[in-house]
């Protein structure tokens, strides 16, 4: 075992893994996280805690992870390279590991332009692929990237994110391969709606032998309404929601659209589960954590396996 995390054990044992995410609050109130964590509990193998997503300032991801952990769910720390240089990254990694956080997602981070502080200085000292390499060096060689020896190596199950739908499409699998070469153990994808395109992506990934080297968790996000679908299509880079999905939701009366969104999400989970090379699902129920149980249960993925250490 590289990290001994629950997520690693579930995936290595060959179970179809389930992760979800909690966005920390825009404030110092721990109850917000604890409440979300309560809804996540028992439904997942690990729960991502986002790191100032969309560059909007929130409670720190490490703190959020500790609250999730305290409430009984294994946390998965998201870490972006937008706000920290390599000194801060290494330091936060050591701290997170010392606090018992065992899963890590290495991200570049949304550009600060999108947040409340567009005038902030961005860092991007190293990029997300180099962060994967940095963590792997620390974990496996017990060394700082500078070559100095660590007093205790951090233990992380190292993850990365991919967006199979960003452009140029043909570079998406080669870029995943770069992340695997750098040392990623698992990957969580951006939310998938265009299944045909994702199938082509996965076929290509399988041809390159990537699923043997990295555990691929397909990302899904339930749509609350046709309006949300249209908004995401228009505003979020790399999200492609096919017209037929929007139509299926739009054809429902307003008060039944959310239920249709959940039904579609469950179908999507079942569909990706059938795909070669998919090891799990990452359910991003954005500010809709109360539906996680219904979605994950509906997809036949409950109860979650309990594995001995």
């Amino acid at each position: 075992m590289k990290s001994g995390s629950n997520l690693e054990r579930v995936l290595e044992a060959g179970h179809f893994a389930v992760t979800a995410e909690c966005g920390p609050p825009r404030g110092a109130d721990p109850e917000v996280v604890l409440k979300k964590a309560e809804l996540v509990k028992g439904n997942v193998d690990a729960c991502n805690v986002t790191d100032n997503q969309t560059s909007v300032v929130r409670m720190s991801s490490v703190a959020g992870c500790m609250l999730v952990k305290q409430s009984g769910t294994e946390p998965l720390l998201q870490m972006v390279v937008r706000d920290r240089n390599r000194i801060a990254l290494q330091s936060d990694l050591l701290g997170a590991s010392a606090l018992g956080i065992r899963n890590l997602l290495c991200l570049s981070g949304d550009h600060q332009k999108f947040g409340d502080d567009p005038q902030a200085k961005n860092v991007f000292d190293i990029d997300s692929i180099q962060l994967i390499h940095l963590v792997k060096t620390m974990r496996d060689e017990g060394l700082f990237p500078s070559g100095e020896k660590l007093e205790g190596a951090p233990k992380f199950y190292i993850g990365c994110a991919v967006n199979p739908f960003a452009d140029p499409f043909e570079i998406r699998v080669p870029r995943l391969k770069l992340k695997v070469d750098a040392g990623a153990d698992f990957v969580q994808t951006q939310c998938i709606y265009n299944m045909e395109k994702f199938k082509r992506y996965m076929e290509d990934a399988c041809r390159q032998g990537l699923p043997e080297r990295v555990k691929i968790l397909a990302g899904v996000t339930p749509l609350k309404s046709a309006g949300m679908a249209k908004f995401m299509n228009r505003m979020v880079a790399g999200i492609e929601i096919p017209e037929e999905i929007i139509k299926r939701i739009a054809d429902e009366p307003k008060d039944k659209q959310a239920a249709k969104g959940i039904e579609i999400c469950i179908e999507q989970i079942q569909e990706v589960r059938e795909m070669e090379g998919i090891a799990g699902v990452h359910v991003m129920a954005i500010e809709w954590e109360e539906k996680l149980n219904e979605i994950i249960g509906g997809a036949g993925l409950l109860p979650r396996p309990i594995l001995a250490l």
Binding site: R82, R86, S108, G109, D110, H111, K113, F114, N122, F124, D125, I126, D127, S128, I129, Q130, H133, L134, P145, A161, V162, N163, A166, D167, P168, I171, P174, R175, K177, L178, D181, A182, Q190, A237, G238
Partner: protein
Amino acid sequence: MITGTPKPIEEILEMLEPYDNIILAGCYGCVTVCRVGGDKEVQVLASTVRLAREAAGKKIEIKEVCLERQCDPEYLEPMRPYVEDYQAVLSIACGAGIQFMAEKFARTPLLPGINTGFLGVTERQGEWTERCQGCGDCVLHLTGGICPVTRCAKSLFHGPCGGSVQGICEVSKETKCGWQLIIDRLKALDQMDNYGKIKPYKGWDSSRDGGPRRIIREDMV
């Protein structure tokens, strides 16, 4: 070239408020080429300031000069005999030129008349775009002649990120995705092998992060 944009006239007038005789100094270098600080701009700005100050009932005397370059000492020296006859110098050279003049003329306040921009190129008349951040460690031979540090909004060394849509960066509709450009060029050059390699962490010590930089050419000193 080094590009720049004129400061708003209100800001310039505010800076000039305490003075009633100044030198307005242009430069025949980059700022002339990008039409922000050459002799024509000196004339126009001087007239604008004079008119504004006359209208405000506070006349100002302006000596108009344009130096060959404000970043070379030999072109600054000719100003020495008269610079102290004036209360201040308003320079519309780049930040390097303005600072160099300030260093040479220790008792004269220097005021910036432009905002210095970036190392860029002329796309067409009236449009300039950035190409280089002077990071001191060029990798253009590996990236199809397109700089990831400058052209990618996140300076990624293994792009593009998920924010690249149809060749456009998520930061702005007017910004091309630097990594799409790199990939297009690598493909055209049959150099896609370069893409598949993990690049070492960049040493930013050769960039501004290492502190103010200095170049010594032993063969020339």
